[in-house]
Symmetry: C2
């Protein structure tokens, strides 16, 4: 199996008590039973439709043929199934044909899909994100024209942001929108690159949520507007007709090969219509309101790949005989399975610690999103602030660490892991996209240290520290976990000093220095946050051990041991990071380009 | 360019004073001029023959067609050129048709080849290693029969060790050798897997240096013998005739695709002749005497890939405009090249620190090999002991770290780096083989902590500490470097405590615990060793700065800054590693397989 069902249940019901969400009116028709049915349905699709295509989609990449990107023929039934079963709008309201499912449950289901086949899972995930923008900020006409076909899976949705000279620096986009005589209708002209699912033949149409600048708009981020730009627009008779969005190319890439990534020429023949979403010049703001969702989605993508690799290497380690115990010198003794070597266990524990730690954080963030959505007053506000703060970590920690954890999976398989006979090399290649897309790790470091830590007079950070201290208080009462709690407490205290030191630089106007190691600060915050998540898990596991029967006993033991592993091998890295963050040497600023 | 010529010269002549090697009679015909001619010749081949095939060889993988592996057709002229120009036996004596070139120079030349095209460079490199075994331990008849065609590049050499059930645990090989009536001739039967260049059509024949067990041999490592097993043997008339070595398959793999890796069936028809090298049962010993060479070779392979990736990302960073300085909020200002962002400089410094630091170590080890080869008495002994100690680090540090440094190269290119439009994604894939082959990282950790640190009453370690302290003494006298020297001194002192602690466990018989974190110990030793190499480089650079003219001034500044970077960002990691290594918690031993 490519994921642990038990671990999902542990997070949903033992750690997060997700069934409590059904006390809110919006979720009141649900219960644990309906949640489990959703997860079982996801598992069915994952096992029967997605996993069987995992390798094939990697080998048979999308190709541009006669101006159209052809994807693996197996994608068409998959996209249809996602639409038919209501997965694309499952989180939306009944009014919108949705099922008002909590994000917590939907993300757990998405995780199951992604562990089976990351590339295939991207298609519906992108449509949901695009549709969400239209329904949140679009006019009634736009919603009625576009979302039903998106929900049904007939039309693909995309986010069309990046341009050749505007990637990390989105404010520099140059795609131009000129008003027409018809209100809300613009003529667009420009280029978009790296557009995931930007064109393919598994759907009938593609609906781009595209950033562009209305002629005469202010420079920079404040002049960006959001448009719906369909690949084919509807003519007067309601028939689809080409909208002058030409696919100039498909990217060939290291991994994630099953998903078609397009280079688009927009309005080359002056005949591309775009429909303004919301008000002019507010596009980036709209986009960012959806970003938490997309970024948690990317974190989940990363951790799902890491999870599948962990499971594959675990299965191999349990069956592969090689070598003997270090203290066993007798060559007549049979070889032992490699899972019995301490160093192999270390690599498995590393993967388990990273993937289950990050998954716990992502489920926690999903629940915060649900609470921010349906609660009110201070509860809502606290959830939203904490979610905002955690989002760069929830995106970046899994993205960075699953590159390393998939590497450990390859290492466990040895030479076999480097061949295409096993899936781990594919996971290693696929994992590498996540630190890049949906904001690079550096961008998230700047977001965390440059914005999230300070906004609202540091209220989000204050809530974070409060929540961690609650967990610490609980863990300090459990003798087995007291050493871990003390270690985290000490690290947290020092991290607050580091934060104060860095904010002090900002106050002194040393902006470059303040943010020069924002990536390291993000890493520090990540290791602390995941340490916190492991302590939360260890508390439940330790408390459940006494009454647990056999299989559950093993599961809980595994949780407690992995928490110990995380503190022994991962949380200690905070020391080195903080030493650097407190140093006065600004070598990366002082270094000059001609000295390289 | 895919490497820095200036950096090679810096290491060879300013740090290592390689020209001093010519004072030894064996190298007396050489001088700096002849060394430079060798390097220039290597650069010619690298630029004209190797680099142009880099991408093509990745795209057009070797295929097994009618029982023969077909490699890229461009390999045939390359292999021929290497033979014709005398590269394969250049380090051997004049008697053997060689040029008595120092390993230091040959490895620098090899580095140039490998930065251009790692897969292509493997072919001659393997032949050299195999021929070296024959000439060192084989009979006159074996030497005369096999080595001339290997030197000329007509016949490929391989190392045929691994079997389906014997990879890391070589003592478990089962390939059987039965004596025949002819002395020294055996019939072999078995399977070999993962044999690099084990079969291909760019040469006329393949000569395997194969490990097997003679019937009735002792169990385990002490029963392994070494054989020459040609793919085609010479019949009575001196004609090549098949020797019952059948190619059962070619491995398809993540990277390093240009090199054909074979699965071989040996003696399936009871007609495979093998010729015993040296004495029976001593094969593993012979193999290990050549291991230093092969392992330094793998370290160089890794660092060459890391270097090419560094150079590619450096060139990109200097030309790619994106974003503005953090303190610059005005969107009308033009974008700046990304090399001006502190975080991009950090990623470039990381790559420079890892690749140039590891290259310095590998050149240093090459010089130790030369001295161990040609010197006498204590000088020879010290060089050999130090080389033995450093070998696991020289193999593993570049192997592990160049996975990370190529990842940083991908990150600098962003989305572009993930596409096949740029070579960095290929470098990322190719780098991943090195922690696996020629002994996994775990095996090298056990070698370092379990053997090298303790053999000869710890004399090798003692020499190491003496050498580092010499460098420290020099650096403490240079005000700019004093803080670095103090940091290294402190780390070194604590590392000695860590070593004493671990050896104490061994003395108490706690063998499993003693070695359970050998991989982390290897990492610790690696970061200290490379810190030492950076201090050595910084001393020369700092002393040369005053009189240096423009380009050299930039070069030396870069060296000093990168040393600072290494200490600020990398050497600090020793703290976290030592904290773990001193911990009493044996979580990776306590963890049970059923708890995963």
């Amino acid at each position: 199996m490519f994921f642990s069902k038990r671990d999902i249940q542990f997070n949903l019901y033992e750690v997060l008590h997700s069934e409590a969400l059904t006390q809110y009116p919006y979720f009141q028709d649900h219960n644990r039973e309906s949640f489990d049915m959703v997860l079982d349905a996801a598992q069915q699709i994952a096992e029967k439709m997605l996993y069987p295509l995992l390798t094939q989609m990697d080998r048979k990449e999308p190709q541009l043929v006669d101006g159209k990107i052809r994807v693996h023929p197996g994608m068409k039934p998959i996209v249809k199934q996602f639409g038919q079963d209501g997965w694309i709008n499952a989180g939306f309201s009944y009014d919108e044909g949705g099922q008002q499912l909590p994000a917590t449950i939907l993300n757990a289901a998405g995780f199951i899909f992604q562990t089976a086949n990351y590339s295939a899972s991207v298609f519906p995930f992108l449509t949901t994100g695009a549709a969400n923008l239209i329904r949140s900020f679009g006019s009634k006409a736009l919603i009625e024209t576009f979302t039903p076909k998106m929900y049904s899976g007939e039309w693909q949705g995309t986010m069309a942001l990046t341009e050749p000279n505007a990637g990390s620096s989105l404010s520099d986009i140059t795609t131009l929108a000129e008003p027409t005589e018809q209100e809300g209708v613009y003529k667009l002209k420009g280029q978009k690159i790296f557009i995931s699912c930007g064109d393919h033949d598994a759907c009938d149409n593609v609906v781009h949520l595209m950033l562009a600048k209305i002629k005469g708009a202010p420079l920079g981020a404040k002049g960006i507007s959001l448009f719906v730009v369909p690949q084919q627009r509807l003519d007067k008779d309601g028939e689809l007709t080409p909208n002058d969005v030409i696919t100039a190319g498909v990217y060939h890439k290291m991994g994630y090969k099953g998903a078609p990534i397009a280079h688009l020429m927009v309005g080359s023949n002056d005949d591309c219509e775009g429909y303004l979403v919301g008000e002019p010049h507010k596009g980036l703001g709209y986009m960012f309101q959806m970003m938490n969702e997309a970024r948690i989605g990317v974190g989940l993508n990363a951790v799902s790949i890491g999870t599948a690799a962990y499971q594959a290497s675990l299965a191999y380690a349990k069956e592969r005989p090689q070598g003997r115990k270090i203290s066993e010198k007798d060559p007549t003794k049979p070889q032992t399975n490699i899972i019995n070597h301490a160093d192999v266990k270390r690599m498995l524990l590393f993967q388990k610690a990273v993937t289950e730690g990050a998954f716990a954080l992502l489920m926690y963030c999903s629940k915060l999103a649900d609470i921010a959505h349906v609660a009110e007053g201070e509860t809502k506000e606290r959830a939203q602030l904490l979610l905002d703060l955690l989002t760069p970590i929830a995106k970046s920690y899994p993205s960075e660490m699953c590159c390393l954890s998939t590497s450990a999976a390859v290492q466990i398989l040895g030479g076999a892991g480097y061949t295409t006979d096993f899936p781990v090399e594919q996971y290693y290649r696929e994992a590498r996209i996540h630190p890049i897309h949906e904001g690079t790790t550096a961008i998230h470091g700047l977001d965390l240290l440059g914005r999230k830590i300070t906004i609202h007079q540091g209220k989000a950070a204050q809530i974070f520290f409060e929540e961690v201290r609650k967990t610490l208080a609980e863990a300090l009462e459990i003798s087995e976990l007291k050493p871990l709690a003390e270690q985290l407490q000490k690290t947290l205290g020092k991290a607050q000093q580091v934060t104060a030191h860095l904010l002090g630089l900002a106050q002194k106007g040393e902006i470059e220095k303040y943010l020069s190691d924002a990536t390291l600060y993000l890493e520090l915050f990540g290791v602390i946050t995941i340490g916190w998540q492991w302590l939360k898990q260890a508390i439940i596991a330790q408390q459940s051990l006494a009454q647990a029967h056999a299989a559950d006993h093993d599961f809980y033991q595994g949780k407690v041991m992995t928490a110990r592993y995380f503190y022994e091998y991962e949380l200690v890295k905070a020391d080195s990071l903080m030493k650097r963050l407190l140093s006065a040497d600004q070598v990366t600023i002082d270094m000059q380009s001609e000295w390289f």
